[in-house]
């Protein structure tokens, strides 16, 4: 029991505890809960294709980060050992989109016929924090599918070639 050993000179968190307990809670949107549940169940029971789709964005980010680090390391090694001027085959590769948009977890569904914008963003690899002690200097490029309401619907990470271009341009 924490209160038994509490020093009387130590701060009393009772007012904060009371304020937190008195906080109004967000309303429970039961319809939204049921919708999420059904969507998740559908994804779970949709076969191998659905299983692959239910992989989260984290795995995409992890895969992209790992490939960028790995390819970047190889390119660096090649440049150090061979020192050739004609080395840029990978860096010159076009930053083509290699993956379809992955739906974001909490965003509304993509509706056919609606207008969307594609916004390209660059995210520091270090901010992904998916790798232990990740301190990579590079950036990862991604395209966000943004609806008219300003909310992102999906994300598409660009391929290793784009990552290298991004990294080299820093």
């Amino acid at each position: 029991m924490s209160s038994i050993e509490k020093d009387p000179h130590e701060p009393d968190l009772a007012p904060l505890r009371a304020a937190l307990k008195a906080m109004p809670m967000p309303a429970v949107d039961e319809a939204a809960l049921r919708r999420v549940f059904r969507e998740r169940r559908r994804a779970d029971t949709g076969g191998a294709g659905a299983t692959a789709r239910k992989r989260t964005i984290k795995y995409w980010a992890l895969a992209a980060a790992v490939s960028s680090l790995a390819v970047g390391g190889v390119v660096g090694l090649v440049r150090m050992t061979e020192q050739r001027a004609a080395a840029p085959p990978i860096a010159a590769a076009p930053p083509s989109a290699v993956a379809a948009f992955q739906p974001l977890w909490y965003s509304p569904q993509v509706v056919p016929g609606a207008a969307y914008s594609v916004v390209r963003v660059r995210i520091p690899l270090s901010s992904l924090a998916l790798l232990p002690d990740a301190t990579a200097d590079g950036m990862i490029e991604a395209d966000l599918l943004v609806g008219e309401d300003g909310l992102a619907r999906g994300i598409r990470f660009n391929g290793p070639g784009a990552l290298l271009v991004s990294k080299a341009s820093q």
Binding site: M1, S2, S3, E5, K6, D7, H9, E10, P11, L13, P15, L16, R17, A19, L20, K21, M23, M25, P26, V28, E30, L33, R34, V36, F37, R38, R40, R41, W105, Y106, S127, L128, A129
Partner: protein, 206 residues
Amino acid sequence: MTDADPQPEDHQDATLLVAIAAGDEQAFVDLYARRQADVFRFAFAMGRSKSLAQDVTQEVFLNVLENAARFDTAKGSARGWLFGCARHVILDRLRLERRWTDALPELVVEHDGDAKLLTEQRVGRLHAALTRLPVEYREVLVFCDIEEWTYAATAAVLDCPIGTVRSRLHRGRALLATLLVEGEAGARAAPTPVESGVLQTREVCS
């Protein structure tokens, strides 16, 4: 002081988790209605941001949907499992967003008198100081002093010995007192060792 495993309550939670794993939609709605406020309050206490708390709450229950089948009554209480999940989500978010502190006193609302204003200011200062603590101290204070869990229940969620909970609680309270004194003295010009220590947070319980 409440236990993380109050038998009747936890039995209901455990039953709901099992039902969710079996595909029971109503069980998911029921568990959300029962525990949403607890998870939200925990996340808000840790991060001092309502938007962060809402995001964390959503993510926790999405995790419940995906991982309810992994819950095992032999390994611990349902509430401990749920809060263990919430803890991981909030720590991930804090790391990703670098949201170690939040200068906005979101608890301060309208006031109609000096006494109420003083109370709100005191609560705001307390919460601000709490969120400046290193996460390993902060979470122990939130579990033991805010949520009023037992040492044993807290140790189970943090997956560490009870002695570790006790020592962190002691140090956390001492640091909190120091921060409060510093805050009152207005000594906030330079980052304190505590603030820089926050960024070194890592799991030390294993």
